[in-house]
């Protein structure tokens, strides 16, 4: 009951915030920004507490409005554990983003239409929460479109820039192709139930013919895969994310693309099960290929936001991988293992939203201080922006999944979920899953190389251009927003058990029963079963690391020179002009480019080999049917006549 009230008041909060900021911006832009940030934090806290309560109580709850929608009836939301988890994910990231937006909008967008930006910001969060909690196919599609359109407005918000229009166009086009497939999928399902509500879709899988189910699976994969950025449907992501304002990029990358994940889980586990195990292998293979190729693109990218966008694609691959393995294991009958895999995937989704949100917001901070995101022009910012640099270091460590940060906790679990496949009796799974695990490891190392390059070329050594030399630390609200996320990355990293306890009941709500769970945990210790397979104690890792780090210092103090170090100029073969001698980011990733030259197809590879042939095919088809549209009235009348006759013949048969 409390959950319902909290969620409803958060909805009210978002709508009030949107209306109020729009009205206030006519009076004072600054006031409107402050109101937007504060109301955003309050509303997100409300929805966060509502979803946390729902997850802790392990039960679904309803929110019903007396609002009648044609074809649908009453507007009703059903928040089951899966939806509650996604609401938690959305609200948890939106709190720091709201705080950050105060400083960011003040420094970057004060001369623009701030009221509209703030209002859309609240509507965007609201639409995402509604998408994951709605219980009706038609409402879902409408909200899905609303969410896409609002984010489209953000992508084209930079009106002076032509590339933003291009990016917006690609984004709109790709997401609409995805939506079209989703629409067809929903219509096919509705044919069998005569109803669009998710409750009637549940467990419809038994009634559907196998071929139709496969078709549905492909449509869902295309529809939601476009949003989630699975390769080769990812092409909009590196275009659109860099164009949006940074706090929106954080939300888009951290949360919005996760709605694709939500859709895939909802459709496949609730609606389409039972399904053949090969579906899971298909999804897992696509995911791991997405992860590996996307991170190779990221490693050679020199625009920070594009780099982060590619890394988002990579992380979506990592998130989808355990979902794929959960599907395989579920249909093979290993439900406990499947439940564990699913939890790993969702856990990584949460972690990714935190560190990617953090990194995108820091990219915004760097952009507002230096007015460039080109790695070739940045440098030396650690002295000018020490806090930003520190948070970026934490974000990098978390995204490269190094202990003791949250990325490591979830990646450790994903590795284990893949390695636990040794219990499966099917040879194909036994061979493929460890290979996936190895490729995941490869992704991790390339990710480390990528973020070493990003961090060192932005923050270390000397500035490479004049505009960077005058950079100064960003405002307090931006630091609080990013700092909160950095702290969260560490906290979840050392106490993942809390998140796991929230997640543990989600598989059951999706009918993946886990009678004998493969893991057990207490407050600082996770153990995988069978007994002694693996265990994980992140708190102890942190304690041990903090104990060991001073040892080196003590040893060097006792044995080494007692004097402090001497500071001097770096030797540069006797030439001055230090900044010109720095190793450039392009040079840094050049060996990678050489080694992966076969894989590192230029980005327009997909453009040339997939999209252009597709477009040409459609063009040719249009050309071929053009003679039918001759433009003369007699022919059209003839068509009507022929149709009439065919219809009459059809009816008489």
């Amino acid at each position: 009951m409390l959950e319902t009230i909290l969620l409803q008041s958060s909805f009210l909060g978002f709508i009030t915030a949107a209306a109020l900021t729009l009205a206030l911006s006519k009076v004072s832009k600054k006031l409107s920004i402050y109101f937007s940030g504060i109301l955003g934090v309050i509303s997100c806290c409300l929805s966060l507490s509502s979803s946390t309560l729902a997850l802790l109580n392990h039960k679904s709850f309803l929110v019903t409005y007396q609002l009648l929608i044609p074809l649908v009836g009453k507007f009703q939301l059903v928040i089951d554990p899966l939806a509650a988890f996604f609401i938690l994910l959305i609200s948890l990231l939106s709190i720091p983003v709201s705080i950050y937006s105060i400083g960011y909008l003040k420094s970057e967008y004060i001369n623009k239409n701030v009221g509209l930006l703030c209002a859309l910001f609240h509507l965007f969060i609201l639409s995402m929460i509604l998408v994951v909690s709605t219980n009706n196919g038609i409402v879902f599609l409408i909200l899905w479109e609303v969410m896409t359109l609002i984010s489209f407005f953000f992508v084209i918000s930079d009106t002076e820039n032509n590339s933003s229009k291009h990016a917006g166009f690609i984004y709109l086009l790709m997401t609409h192709i995805g939506s079209a497939f989703l629409l067809i999928a929903f219509l096919i399902l509705a044919q069998y139930t005569n109803d669009f509500s998710f409750t009637s879709f549940t467990q419809i899988g038994d009634q559907l013919p196998a071929k139709l189910k496969l078709l549905l699976f492909i449509f869902i994969l295309i529809g939601f895969g476009t949003k989630a950025g699975l390769i080769p449907l990812h092409i909009w992501l590196p275009e659109a994310h860099p164009q949006a304002p940074s706090h929106i990029s954080a939300l888009m990358s951290g949360v919005m693309i996760k709605t694709g994940l939500y859709g895939i889980i909802r459709f496949i586990f609730s609606f389409l099960s039972p399904f053949p195990y090969s579906w899971g292998l298909i999804l897992a293979t696509i995911s791991i290929l997405t992860a590996v190729t996307a991170i190779i693109y990221a490693s050679t990218e020199n625009n920070l936001k594009r780099l982060l966008a590619f890394s988002s694609i990579e992380n979506m691959g990592i998130v989808m991988l355990p979902i794929g393995s959960a599907m395989t294991l579920f249909s093979l009958g290993y439900t406990s293992l499947a439940a564990f895999s699913l939890i790993c995937g969702l856990f990584h989704a949460l972690n990714h939203s935190l560190f990617k949100g953090l990194l995108f917001m820091l990219a915004g901070a760097i952009n507002s201080a230096c007015h460039t995101l080109n790695l070739e022009k940045l440098g030396g910012l650690i002295k000018l922006m020490p806090q930003t640099a520190f948070f970026f270091l934490i974000g990098s460590l978390a995204i490269c999944s190094f202990p003791p940060f949250n990325g490591f906790a979830s990646e450790w679990l994903i590795f284990q979920s893949l390695l636990l496949s040794f219990q499966v009796k099917l040879e194909l799974v036994k061979i493929l899953f460890p290979v996936f695990a190895v490729l995941l490891g490869l992704t991790g190392t390339i990710c480390a190389a990528t973020f070493v390059k990003a961090f060192s070329s932005i923050f270390l050594a000397l500035p490479r251009s004049h505009q960077v030399k005058n950079a100064c630390e960003v405002s307090l609200s931006m630091k609080i927003g990013t700092g909160m996320l950095a702290v969260l990355c560490l906290t979840i990293g050392i106490a993942p058990s809390f998140v796991l306890s929230l997640l543990s009941k989600i598989p059951e709500s999706l009918n993946i029963s886990s009678e004998s769970p493969v893991y057990s945990f207490n407050y600082n210790f996770i153990q995988l079963l069978p007994q002694g397979f693996a265990s994980f104690s992140p708190t102890a890792i942190l304690v041990l690391l903090t104990v060991l780090i001073p040892i080196g210092y003590i040893v060097s103090r006792i044995l080494g020179q007692k004097t402090n170090y001497r500071k001097t100029e770096t030797w540069n073969c006797g030439v001055t002009g230090q900044a010109d001698f720095e190793y450039t980011p392009t040079a840094y990733s050049q060996p990678l480019e050489v080694v992966f030259s076969e894989l590192h197809t230029p980005e327009n590879f997909y453009h040339d080999h997939l999209y252009i042939p597709l477009i040409n095919g459609i063009k040719n088809l249009a050309h071929a049917i053009r003679p039918i549209q001759a433009g003369s009235l007699q022919i059209y009348l003839g068509y009507i006549f022929i149709t009439l006759i065919i219809c009459l013949v059809w009816l008489s048969l």
Binding site: V452, S535, P591
Partner: protein, 185 residues
């Protein structure tokens, strides 16, 4: 409980000390064998200790463009190596340490150290350091998948990611250091 903690700390300290004291010798031994195989004499077996003494007597010089990362990286790297030495049974098999995270933790702890070395070497802003850092990461990502594949085979055979269970594999008992040859890379 107190006794267990005391035992743990003393064993851990003993393990760290053994590794610290022996590793210069083993490092030189490897160099010596390599040299002998190539038909050279190689360094004297205590060369590692001579080198260390020399380095400790030297003054440290830090580039004036460097920040706190450059100063703290040696300690972090040292700590990660010590951490790894605690996980691998060398002097004594500290079984209780396997609750930490097993073989995957070991790999990522090495990764953590490498990450800091790679960013610290970019600090002075010299072209040579950048090249070194780039190649370090490059080599790491070529080696790591191979190493993971080798290790995962052992994990699947022993049915556990805990390091002692991998050691106790019957086929490895004759050459129990096998899996860790791959770390030499």
């Amino acid at each position: 409980m107190k006794l267990i903690i005391l035992q743990f700390i003393s064993l851990g300290a003993a393990q760290i000390l053994t590794v610290l004291l022996l590793s210069p010798f083993i490092n030189t031994l490897i160099k010596k064998i390599k040299a002998l195989l190539q038909g050279r004499y190689g360094p004297p077996l205590l060369q590692g200790y001579y080198d260390l003494t020399k380095y400790f007597c030297k003054e440290s010089v830090v580039s004036k463009h460097a920040s706190w990362i450059f100063i703290t990286t040696p300690y972090i790297y040292f700590a990660t190596t010590l951490f790894a030495s605690l996980l691998i049974p060398t002097f004594y098999d500290i079984a209780s340490l396997n609750v930490l995270g097993g073989i995957i933790l070991l790999i990522y702890i090495f990764g953590l150290g490498r990450f800091f070395v790679a960013i610290a070497s970019m600090e002075p802003g010299s072209g040579f350091c950048g090249m070194a850092s780039s190649r370090e990461m490059m080599l790491a990502l070529l080696i790591e998948p191979v190493m993971l594949l080798a290790l995962f085979v052992l994990v699947l055979m022993s049915g556990s990611t805990n390091i002692p269970s991998i050691f106790n594999l019957p086929m490895l008992s004759s050459c129990s250091f096998c899996p860790f040859y791959s770390f030499c890379c």
